[in-house]
């Protein structure tokens, strides 16, 4: 073996802690970067990627089976401009009930014998595909837990068929809500209808709405055509739902990448710098600066290479659940880690290692040999003495005072640790704030009240009796003990002048506070003729707060003045909320009731329903909207945060390891003078306390700033503003606890080397040069 090889081998072998730390840092950096890179890739046009993977249809066409034949539709698949087509699949619409009672809205049921085909290659998320009648596969977009194994009932259909859920699948184009065996469709088709067919087309020209329209006109038979849905509309729907989370995941991915580069750079630079004395010895033996550089680059690359290999495996394994959750959030299919991400991350990490090692070793290699030998292990003379003087006068246990002064003797190393802690605290602050904000957004978008009569929430029309005595119902509610506040709503579909498309007008009567509508700007209406609208309405109609809009209710014009921007995502935000007195003859579709704190809702309902029975309506407990999306986001956030904390902790660990090695002789002196292991641990932990506190102090405002920058971006992506309550998630207690998090990261990172320091044998430490 050459002299250089021996130097590298002995350097790697003798400095085992350093070698392990470099390997660990590289492994964690690669793991975090593979995850971060995959998140960035997954967050880049998630619909387009999944659409291409599934060969999604440019047009999903539905035909009336009574007006066309399967043979005619089969022929259309080879029409000019059609590059691929699937179907005709039998299709119908049905309203099932779940086995535990809840009635589901009308669903599109498609008969498909398999998931594949040239168009709309549906991805099975869970379970199996249907293999015969009596089975059903649910669309993953329903986001219900534990779906497989449940039963869907169709009590309104002849024979009340029941289907067992055997799987969950996702079509990025949302071509169906339920997939069944083709022959099953007939049994799910209402007897008075002929049913239908679904054909999925891909065209040679479909990049724009105009091209899709032209291709559709040229290829899709007009006879029996009952409706089409273009890929552009599907894309808009998908993007609208997933866009909220893209900035969040991009921010996390970017944080992960930056931290990885920072920590690897720090670890390697620190490792090389701690070997200055050895470099001096090598030069004294005749090694040239070039040989020194090569030796140290190789010494860093060997463990980093091994660490990167482990990291890429770990990253790919961890990416499986993370990307699965991400695909759940985006409503897309799960993709494995792109090979180029693995290659780029490994190459990038090793590149950072090589460049950092090269730069540090080059600097060391150019030092005069005598200087390298002299400065190798001793801190700069006089550096940080002021801190030692200051802490010796503090009323603290002496080991704590000694530790507190340590960072000031090696400021560069302390800064590196500080950077790691700042990033870690920033990530934690960002994650905690975002989870709280998303939870608040979830609360703010759900207007379900404690008790409802009619629809679950304002808006949908679930058909209260037209002859309902509204005043009597209100009186019964008001008289019921336990009632805190209540309102009724009526709903109309209206159009807005100069804007195509329908808008829902919801008029409130009573105390609207149980609906928990949160304002983004302006005020909630408090007089007839005033209205509040969600952000998408303002955007779509080009209106602003203070403007007056005229709503056309089938010829009856209603003019309202917009006094506020409210957070609401129902009906795509195309809603207008106003006072019932604004309308003439409002028809009530829903009552919302809030009960007093401590009221038992079941008892309340029993009493209220006894009073309502003569009026022909029944009250029930409000069913808050369930969002496993939120759970997914929180799980993803928690996982990513823990990973970033671990990377930050590793940065601290590296710094403390280097510091402990540098101070091992002093440590021996302390122990010889009677410092106990407990005092040694206290001294080492105190040495990172200042850095931890300062890091926490800097990281929290940075995390809050990142949160405040990303949250509006998330809202903008989703086309809505967000209520002020979603931003005000950092209370004083939270801030203090988060700032304390910096200290926790520092202490966690220092715990291991503190233990080593405590166990170091005094006699050995005293002999160390």
């Amino acid at each position: 073996m050459s002299a250089l090889g021996k130097v590298v081998r002995s350097g790697v072998g003798r400095k085992r802690v350093q070698t392990v730390v470099i390997g660990l840092a590289a492994a964690m950096a690669v793991t975090a970067s593979v995850l971060a890179g995959s998140l960035l890739v997954a967050s880049s046009a998630p619909f387009d990627r999944a659409f291409a993977e599934q060969s999604g249809p440019h047009v999903t066409a539905q035909f009336d089976a009574g007006a066309t034949t399967a043979a005619d539709l089969e022929a259309s698949k080879t029409a000019a401009g059609v590059t691929a087509a699937a179907g005709p699949f039998p299709v119908t619409s049905a309203s099932p009930e779940l086995d535990d009672g809840p009635k589901l809205p009308p669903m599109t049921v498609v008969g498909r014998a398999d998931t594949g085909g040239p168009v709309d290659a549906v991805a099975l998320v869970e379970g199996t595909w249907v293999t015969g009648p009596g089975q059903v596969v649910l669309s993953a977009d329903f986001r219900m837990p534990d779906q497989v194994g449940r039963t869907l009932r169709f009590p309104a259909l002849p024979g009340a068929p029941e289907l067992r859920v055997v799987g969950v699948a996702r079509s990025i184009s949302r071509t169906a809500d339920l997939w069944v065996w083709p022959s099953q469709v007939a049994a799910l088709t209402p007897p008075d209808t002929a049913g239908g067919f679904q054909v999925l087309y891909r065209f040679a020209s479909a990049a724009t709405t105009e091209q899709v329209d032209a291709s559709t006109a040229a290829a899709v038979p007009a006879q029996g055509l009952s409706g089409t849905r273009t890929w552009i509309a599907a894309r808009q729907d998908a993007v609208k739902e997933s866009a909220l989370f893209v900035p969040f995941l991009v921010a996390f991915g970017a944080l992960g990448l930056v931290m990885s580069v920072l920590i690897v750079g720090n670890v390697v630079a620190g490792a090389v710098a701690s070997g200055l004395r050895r470099i001096g010895v090598l030069k004294a033996l005749g090694f040239t600066p070039g040989q020194v550089v090569r030796a140290y680059v190789a010494q860093a690359l060997l463990p980093a290479g091994v660490g990167a290999a482990f990291g890429v495996v770990a990253g790919n394994l961890l990416a499986i659940p993370v990307l699965a959750e991400t695909s759940e959030v985006y409503g897309t299919t799960v993709s494995p880690v792109a090979p180029w991400v693995d290659v780029a991350v490994v190459a990038g990490t090793l590149g950072v290692v090589a460049v950092t090692a090269w730069a540090s070793a080059w600097r060391a290699g150019r030092l005069r040999t005598v200087d390298a030998l002299a400065v190798g292990r001793t801190p700069g003379v006089g550096r940080g003495r002021w801190a030692a003087r200051l802490t010796s006068g503090l009323p603290l246990p002496r080991p704590v005072g000694l530790g507190l002064a340590h960072p000031f003797t090696r400021p560069a190393r302390a800064l590196a640790m500080l950077a790691a802690i700042v990033f870690g605290t920033t990530a934690v602050t960002f994650a905690v704030g975002l989870a709280a904000s998303l939870s608040d957004v979830q609360d703010a978008r759900d207007h379900t009240t404690d008790v409802v009569i009619g629809a679950d929430r304002p808006g949908p029309d679930r058909g209260l009796p037209a002859s309902l005595d509204v005043a009597a119902v209100n009186a019964a509610i008001a008289a019921q003990p336990g009632t805190l506040a209540h309102f009724s709503t009526s709903r109309r579909e209206v159009t807005v002048a100069a804007f195509s498309g329908s808008t829902t007008l919801i008029a409130f009567d009573g105390d609207t506070s149980p609906g928990d509508y949160r304002m983004i700007a302006g005020e909630w209406f408090d007089a007839p003729g005033e209205a509040v609208v969600p952000s998408p309405f303002l955007g779509a109609t080009g209106t602003r707060i203070g403007d007056t809009v005229t709503l056309d209710d089938r010829g009856e014009l209603v003019t309202v003045r917009i006094v506020g921007e409210v957070f609401d995502l129902q009906n795509d935000g195309m809603q207008v909320f106003t006072d019932a007195a604004t309308l003439t003859n409002p028809v009530v579709s829903n009552f919302g009731i809030a009960v007093r704190p401590g009221t038992d809702v079941t008892t309340y309902l029993d009493g209220l329903n006894a009073a309502l029975r003569p009026l022909g309506v029944t009250a029930r407990a409000g069913q808050a909207g369930f969002s496993d999306m939120l759970l997914t986001i929180v799980a993803l956030t928690t996982f990513l945060t823990l990973l970033l904390i671990a990377v930050a902790g590793l940065g601290v660990l590296n710094g403390v390891v280097l510091d402990t090695r540098d101070r091992v002789h002093d440590l021996g002196v302390h122990k010889a003078l009677g410092m106990t292991p407990g005092q040694t641990i206290a001294m080492v932990l105190a040495s990172v306390a200042v850095v931890g506190v300062v890091g926490g102090g800097l990281g929290v405002p940075l995390g809050v700033a990142l949160h405040d920058a990303v949250l509006p971006a998330m809202g903008r992506s989703a086309g809505t503003g967000l209520p002020a309550s979603s931003f005000a998630v950092y209370g004083p207690t939270t801030v203090v606890l988060l700032a304390f998090g910096g200290l926790v990261i520092a202490v966690l990172g220092a715990l291991l080397p503190a233990g080593w320091a405590a166990r170091t044998r005094t006699a050995t430490a005293l002999r160390t040069e």
């Binding site: 010796s392 246990p397 002496r398 009677g674 005092q679």
Partner: protein, 230 residues
């Protein structure tokens, strides 16, 4: 008969496969004695000092100092033992460069939890007694070798130890400073301080101790009491 301050009984210390660094060594030291442990490099002098100071544990045998069985102490207990019973002086002083002279001296008392004002007063007293009080606010790097060793002695005496252990205390000093330090040790012993000096310097042993124990290959070759050359 006076109870021995130090008592070693059949103490051996082995490292790996090689011959033992100490081989069944037994001796005792009475309070107030000044003992020199002599021997060439590798004879086991430092091992012996480490065992008495509780820095290392014997492979066999017992070490008792001032009634404490040192050989069975854990890390924390041996640290407490050192700060209560032992003062150590090293060849290369082992002063902490980041701390002032006064802070170096006061450190053992602070580790032992002594009252702050009391510790400062005692440190000032010791520095005055040893003639280095004018350097109290200076850093060790600015002192001569002899001055540094005086500071180290002051630090060693801070907790009023029963036993002062000195490992080659003049090894890093010029002749004048060496004589100065040996005179200091003699003076301390004359005041009743028990002193054990590990050295290969016969002249130092003669100057400041009343008894010499010679070690060869880990065994006691000679144990001679004599009047010190004063």
């Amino acid at each position: 008969m006076t109870t021995p301050l130090i008592e070693l009984h059949a103490v051996s210390r082995e490292y790996g496969e090689g011959p033992p660094a100490l081989d069944r060594v037994s001796f005792s030291v009475r309070p107030g004695e000044a003992v020199a442990v002599l021997g060439p490099s590798g004879s086991g002098k430092s091992t012996l000092l480490n065992l008495v100071a509780g820095l290392d544990r014997p492979s066999a045998g017992t070490v008792t100092v001032d009634g404490v069985r040192v050989d069975g102490l854990g890390e924390a207990a041996s640290a407490r033992y050192r700060r209560a019973k032992i003062g150590m002086v090293f060849q290369f002083f082992n002063l902490l460069d980041d701390l002032t002279v006064a802070d170096n001296v006061v450190l053992p008392a602070q580790l032992a939890g002594m009252d702050r004002a009391e510790a400062r007063a005692r440190a000032a007293d010791l520095l005055g007694k040893l003639g280095v009080d004018r350097h109290a606010r200076a850093y060790p790097g600015r002192l001569s070798g002899g001055e540094r060793q005086r500071v180290a002695v002051a630090r060693a005496l801070m907790n009023r130890p029963a036993l002062l252990l000195a490992d080659e205390p003049t090894g890093a000093l010029d002749t004048a400073s060496g004589e100065d330090v040996s005179a200091l040790l003699t003076e301390l012993n004359a005041e009743g301080q028990t002193v054990v000096v590990v050295t290969h310097d016969l002249a130092l042993a003669r100057r400041c101790t009343t008894r010499t124990i010679s070690l060869v290959d880990g065994r006691i070759a000679d144990d001679v009491s004599a009047e010190p050359a004063r």
